[in-house]
Amino acid sequence: MNKEIEDKNLFDHINKSEQSEMSSNFTHQVMSKVEHLEIKKSVTDKPLVGLVGWLMFILFGGLIITSFIIAYQTEEFSLSLPKIDYSKIAPFMNIVLATIFSIAALIVIDKFLRKPKNG
C-alpha cells in the first residue's frame, strides 16, 4: 500500500475521534488577561553603518586615493607605475586597512546574527 495513503488512514483515526472542547468562556478569559497588558513595541533593526557613515567612509577613501595620485604624479609620460616609498605610507595605511577590515567584519557579523522571522 502507498505510504501516504497508509499514513492518511492512520491519522484519520485521530482527526475523526472526539476531541475535548475548550471552556465556553475561553474568549472572556483571554480578554481579561489581555486587558491588563500592553503591546510590546517592536524593535527595529538599524544598520551598524548608516548612509552618512558610508558617505563619510567613501569620501575618506576617495581623499586618500586622490592624495596619493596627486603626491606621486609626474609630469613625464610613463607606462610604469610611480615608485612609492612604502615606508612612509605604511603606518598610515595600517590605520586605513584596519578601518576597512573592522567595518567589513561588523557587516559580516551583523548579517550572520540576524535571522529572518515570520510575521
Binding site: L10, F11, I14, M22, F26, N118
Partner: protein, 189 residues
Amino acid sequence: MEESQVHTYISEVKSGNTASFTPLVEGYKDMVYSICIKITSDAELAEEVAQDTFVKAYQGLAKFKGKSKFSTWLYQIAYFTAINAIRKKGLVRNDLKDANNIEADENSLDNLESKEKTEMINKALEQLKPEDRGLITLYYLEELTIDEVSKIARLSISNVKVKIHRARKKLYGILNQLPQEELNSIRYE
C-alpha cells in the same frame, strides 16, 4: 476570516482598541486549541497553552508585519508554546526502549478497531519527543504542507522532510512495540 479583515482588527488593536482583539480570538480559538490538544494530548494543558498563545500574540502584535498569514504566525506561536509546555511538564513517556532502534512495522494496527487505533496512536504520539510530536501534528493531523510546516517550525524544507520521515518511522516503531497487555487492556475496557 478574511486576511484584510484580520489586518483591520490588528490595526485597531495596535492603535489602542483592545476590544478588537475579541473577534481575532473568536475566529482563531478553535484552530489554536486544535493544534494545542493534538500536541499536548491534555485538555487542561491545551487550554492553558491556547490562552498563552493569544496573550503572546497580543503582546507581539507590533512584530506582525503581515509578511505571512496571520494564521501561520499564530500557528508558530502555538507550536512553540505547546512544545515548550510539554518539555516543562515532562509529558514525554520514556517507559519503552529507545524508539530509534525499533524496526517499524506499518501493519501492526491492522487488526484493531477504530477507537482502539486512536488510543494506540495517541499513546505512541505521547512517547515521541516534543518537537517530533509537533511536526507530526502539523503535517499529518493539521494537514499543512511541508512549506507551511517549515515556516511555522522555522526549519528548512529539507530539514522538515528528514525530521518528519524520522518521526514517522519512530511512531510506527513505537506502535509496533507497545506491549500486548496494553493492547488487550484497550480492547476489553
